[in-house]
Every structure is written in C-alpha cells, then in structure tokens.
C-alpha cells in the first residue's frame, strides 16, 4: 500500500470504474470470466430486489424494522463471493448480501425483523453467524473463532479463514479495537471487513475517526487497505487476497470498503434531518450495479435478453419474499421459555407451567383469551 500523508487522498483500490471500464489493478490481478461477472450482476440485482421488498414490507406493517443495504451491494456480494465453503463470517445486522452468498434464504432474514425469531438460521450450517446488533461484539467473536481455527491447524490452501463485518461507527467501540489487537498478537486468520458507508445513523465518519479507517490497522501491526466498496470486482479481489493471506498463516487484514448508505439507517430513520441530498446524487453516479451493467453492455458480454431475464427473476424473488414473509408463523407463547438453558431448569420450568395454566384459564373466555 502506498504511504499517504494526511493531505493526500488515500489510494482506493478499484478495478471497474463507475463508467464501466475494467482497469484492473497491478496488486490485485483478477482472473474472471464473463459468465462469472454476469453471475455477480445477477447477485447484485437480486439482493437489491430482496432489500427493496423488505423495505415495502416494513411500510406495510409486515416487518417491525428493516436495515436496508441499498448502495452496499457490491461490498457485500464482492466479499461474500470471495468466501470459501469452509470460511466463517460474522455479520452485523445489514449483511443481507453476504447472507445471500452464504445460502441464507431471505425469509430467514425477515424473521428477525418481523419479530418471530431472534436468530433464524444455523450458523455452522451456513458458515454465517447470527446477526449481531450490539455494535462491535462480533469482531471479537470472529477473532476467537479464528484462534480456534489456528489451534485446529486448519491452515493452508484448504484451511479456514474468518471474516468479520462491521460499520465505520463500530470502529469506535472498544470491542472492535480489542479484536484488532487480539487478532494481531495471535496472528489470527481473520479479515476485518469494514463497510464505511460514511454514516453511523446521523454521525458522519469524521465523528468516528480522524484517520482513514484502513490506516488504523498499521497501529495494530497488520495491513489495511481501502477498496472501492461500490466496485464488486475490487471487493472480490481484495477480500479474496486477504482471506488467502489469512488462510496461509499470514494474519489479519483490515479491508475498508469505501461505500455509501444510499437509504436511511433503518426504516425508523429520517436522513433528511442530518445530511444533504446532494451527497446522495453524487453517490448515485457511482452506483454499484450500474457500472457492472455498463461493462457488460459496452463489451457485448450480455444482451437484452440476459438483462430482461435477471429482471424477471428479480420480480419473482420480490413476490416470493412477500408471500413467504406473510406466511411466517407466529411463535407459540410458551416458546418464551425454550432454549434458555442447555440443562433442565426448575425455575424456568415452574414459570412455564404457571404461565401455561394462566393461559388455559382464558380458554373459552373468547377468541382473544390469554392475550
């Protein structure tokens, strides 16, 4: 990485320009076929469609909340597609695109935001931990997991690498900084993937860091790199290199994906209170999907039929997400007492039977009994 002074713009690793020109990067050669790029395009379009459907579902009262990934598709698909089957990811709460890459069905994600579950999927089955809401916590979990990988000797080409996702705001938390340090002193096979989407709710990145985030890594003793987070190819190449590095025993890397949260923080948020709309217009020109489409079109690598078929598929997925969301069953009241302890627990058992009795006392009182 070139050394930049405070006055210079940090180097941004980019392989595909917003205009759709494939420039490549000497440090990150990417051997990729047209078919693979079309597949990435499809991923990007489909996750955006899942996301927009979820926003609508929240508006219709079907979800309590949704944290949109709009604008961050390339960072998530690029890094998510860089992951191998044995790798393990530790997301925050916005990584719907990575979840997609890990084979998590969209309805599993919706469950948490609808309030029918606090988790949803089996982290081991998918190599994708549960969403973590308390900011920064998961960076330490990822590091500890990576320390376990080391002890298992799961290194080398077939080894396991770990990746932790978090936002720019999260870099202020003690947990995140402790994770950097634990990973560094242990040379743990973990990649810290920070999506710097410029905002932590209403606070811009300047409120979190005086130096470009990727530069924090140097102080902890491992490399940091800033990648164009709206360039799916750059995100793929840089993350792949960092994961391989980790796998081969060369320790952690901090990847700062420089991107933009095009939507609100969540469906509860109103960004017009704290940021100018001109900023959004500027980033729209750098849209992560548009540039891939331009590249494919300009180079004759995809025809109208291809784009139409992706759009059709997107519509079908939107429809599917809608139907599946509405069909998600409400949990049973006594589910409150499930899975609190591994072993039988007399205190919980007693409360469960008392509550069951209480609920039963309403039976026959009316349809709304026990509520």
């Amino acid at each position: 990485m070139s050394d930049t002074t405070a006055h210079e713009e940090p180097e941004l690793i980019q392989l595909l320009t917003p205009e759709g020109e494939l420039t490549g990067h000497p440090d990150y050669p990417l051997d990729i076929s047209a078919e693979e790029i079309r597949a990435l395009y499809r991923d990007l379009v489909l996750v955006r469609r899942v996301d927009s459907e979820a926003v609508s579902l929240q508006r219709q009262g079907e979800l309590g909340l949704w944290a949109s990934l709009l604008g961050q598709e390339a960072a998530q698909i690029g890094s998510g597609r860089a992951l191998g089957e044995r790798d393990m990811a530790f997301p925050s709460y916005r990584e719907h695109g990575v979840a997609w890459c890990r084979g998590i069905a969209p309805k599993e994600l919706l469950g948490m935001f609808r309030g029918v579950t606090n988790g949803g999927w089996d982290p081991h089955e998918h190599g994708f931990h549960l969403y973590t809401i308390v900011i920064g916590s998961q960076a330490l979990h990822a590091t500890g997991y990576a320390m376990g990988v080391q002890r298992d000797g799961a290194v080398g080409e077939d080894g396991t690498a770990v990746i932790s996702y978090f936002g720019d705001g999260a870099t202020s938390q003690g947990d995140t900084n402790e994770a950097f340090n634990f990973a560094s002193v242990n040379n743990a096979p973990v990649v810290f993937f920070c999506q710097n989407n410029q905002w932590a709710i209403s606070e811009s990145t300047e409120r979190q860091s005086r130096v470009p985030i990727y530069k924090r890594a140097a102080g902890f003793g491992f490399p940091g790199v800033r990648v164009d987070g709206n360039d799916v190819l750059a995100c793929l190449a840089v993350t792949r290199a960092a994961l391989n590095n980790a796998r081969e025993g060369n320790g952690p890397t901090l990847v700062e994906a420089f991107t933009y949260r095009m939507g609100a923080h969540t469906t509860n948020d109103d960004p017009s209170r704290y940021r100018a709309s001109a900023e959004l217009d500027e980033w729209k020109a750098k849209d992560p999907i548009l540039r891939v489409r331009r590249y494919l079109e300009n180079n004759g690598l995809a025809d109208d039929a291809f784009f139409a078929s992706v759009d059709t598929e997107a519509e079908a997925i939107g429809e599917q997400v809608r139907t599946e969301c509405r069909a998600l069953p409400d949990p049973e009241p006594l589910d409150i007492f499930h899975e609190v302890y591994a072993e039988p627990n007399v205190q919980i058992d007693r409360q469960r039977s008392e509550f069951a009795e209480y609920l039963a006392s309403f039976e026959g009182v009316g349809a709304e009994g026990g509520r």
Binding site: G115, I135, G169, Q173, I201, Q351
Partner: protein, 326 residues
C-alpha cells in the same frame, strides 16, 4: 398556564431549562446533536447550545461514560444518553467500577453529577436489545441513584432534579410511553416539585396497594379502574434507589395488601426487595403475601411474543385476584 407536553417533549424542555440555568450542563451521546436523538429527546438543543454543549460522541458507550466522569471531575455536569437499554452494557465497567464508587473512593473529594438517560422497557415491537428493563443491575449497585418517570409532569421536573443532584443518577425513560401527553406547569418554581426520591400515591384506594413504576404505572391505573370489585390504591414508585419506604408502608398498612408490577424479570427484580422489606415492616397488617407480577426469567423474547412476556392488564388483574384469594 400549563403547557401540553408528551413525556419525550417534557424531558426535552427539562434539559433545555437545565442548560439555560447552568452553563456547566452538557449533553452527550450517539446522535444527540443534529438528529436530536433517535427519540428526538434532545431535539433542537444542538442548534441552540452548539457543539461544545451538545456532543455527538463516537459510537462507544464505555467512552461516553468514561469521558463524562473526566468532565465531571473538571466541573461539568454531563447528561449522557445511552441510545437503548441493551446498549448500556458496554458502559458497565465505567458505571459500576468507576462512576458509582468515585465519591467513596475519594473520601467525598470528588462528586459525580452525571445523569445517564436510558430509554428502557418493551412494548414497541423492536428487534432484540431494544426492549429490556435493566434497572436491577443499577439498583444493586451502591452509589447510583435510580429514578424513572411515568408522566410528563415528572419527566419535566425530575430530569432537572437529577441534573442538579451531585450524585450519579440513572434516569430511566419508559420508551413506549414517550408520547403520553399531559399539561405541565413549566412556570412553577422547581422547589415546589415533588422531590425526586419520593414515591407518590397516583390513585387512592382502600383494599389493596398496587405498586408500579415507569411504563407500568399506566397499566396499574387501568387495572385499578378495571377492578370494580375492589378499591385499589396505585403507588408510583418514581425512585427505585433509594426506595421511599415510608410512603409504601403507610399505604400498605392502610390497605393490607401489596401487589408489585414491573417489566423487569421476576427473580432479582426490584419487586423482590420491596416485598421483603414490606413483609418486615407491615407483617401484622398484611392480609395476604406480597404478590409480584413481572416478566419471566428468560431473555426478552422476539417482539411477536412480547405481549405475552410483559405483564399486561390481565396479568396485573390476575395478581390482584391472587392477593384477594387469601
């Protein structure tokens, strides 16, 4: 002369009055500046008092409370906002090992006039960590005062009293009641307001005392109305630490029964301690054991189950019935 205010707006007005009254009062937290906080409780303060007094902090609760401690040592009176109950925990170390103990450790040479505002409690259909009732952690910690409000009047005055207190005050705001509205006489002198440490009889009755605080006071009042067979007295606790036992004991001695309702889990919750104390002080006046109606000893569930988890009107009435069954 009253102003019609919601609980949220009343706290806002109380913060503003405190900042006008004392230039050492600062507001700090995540998103408290331009945004005015996620619940808009600090709305407009940044604009009127500027970035030196309304500080958008980095996203780090330990950092917020730890630096507030340093600011207090330098003579400031920080009012920190923790965005949601579940996000207090990263600040637990600074709060429990430092903030709470500083006066005692310094043999009284250091004061910690810090207010920690925390929106707490459930009932808003939120995702996890946004609905918890962590009050027992605070009441179990010596050196902290713990208060909560149930109406705009208290919200307006108690935030100001908390800020004027030289002790650290955990100020718990019932988020599902932020939009409850009432008239507040904001022009009255603060000296006339009910002291922050006092409990208050919110409804008079003769057959049983129903004790609640924060979000559950409204439910308790509804239960008292709904129980047409008995005359229920409702006491709003207001201060969870210290507890105003004289007011509670006086009420229970008159009514002979006590039902305590809170959103916090049953075991180790504030109700258990109050029950033990009331049993000691009112033993010969009690017609029934002290009954507790609380959340279960389980993690706060996914929101589709919270109506079952939180004690609602029916559960409170069931508790009242149990007291009368003796």
């Amino acid at each position: 002369m009253g102003t019609n205010l919601t609980i949220g707006k009343a706290i806002n007005a109380g913060l503003r009055a405190s900042m006008e009254h004392d230039p050492k009062v600062l507001v700090m937290g995540e998103d408290v500046g331009k945004l005015g906080g996620v619940f808009r409780v600090t709305d407009g303060l940044y604009k009127d008092f500027g970035a030196d007094r309304v500080i958008d902090t980095p996203l780090a609760e330990s950092g917020i409370v730890g630096t507030a401690i340093g600011m207090a040592m330098r003579g400031y009176r920080p009012v920190v906002e923790i965005q949601f109950d579940g996000f207090f925990f990263p600040a637990a170390n600074q709060t429990f090992t430092q903030l709470a103990k500083m006066r005692r450790r310094s043999a009284g040479k250091l004061s910690m006039p810090i207010v920690m505002r925390i929106p707490y409690g459930g009932g808003i259909g939120a995702v996890e960590h946004h609905s918890e009732s962590p009050e027992a952690y605070f009441t179990h910690t010596a050196g902290l005062r713990v208060v909560t409000v149930a109406n705009p009047e208290d919200a307006y005055w108690m935030i100001q009293q908390a800020i004027r207190s030289d002790d650290p005050v955990i100020f718990l705001e019932p988020k599902r009641r932020y939009y409850e509205k009432a008239e507040v006489d904001t022009a009255a002198p603060i000296e006339e307001a009910t002291p922050m440490g006092a409990a208050r009889v919110a409804r008079h009755g003769t057959d049983a005392t129903l004790l609640a605080y924060g979000p559950m006071v409204k439910t308790a009042l509804q239960a008292a109305e709904a129980d047409t067979d008995h005359s229920i007295e409702v006491v709003d606790l207001r201060s969870l630490s210290p507890v105003d036992y004289p007011t509670i004991v006086e009420s229970v001695k008159r009514t002979g029964r006590l039902v305590i309702a809170h959103e916090a889990p049953l075991s180790g919750g504030p109700g258990g301690e109050i029950a033990a104390r009331v049993t000691e002080e009112c033993f010969y006046h009690l017609e029934s054991p002290v009954i507790r109606v609380a959340a279960f000893d389980t993690p706060y569930p996914q929101s589709r189950l919270e109506e079952h988890y939180l004690p609602d009107l029916d559960r409170v009435l069931d508790g009242v019935d149990r007291a009368f069954a003796y």
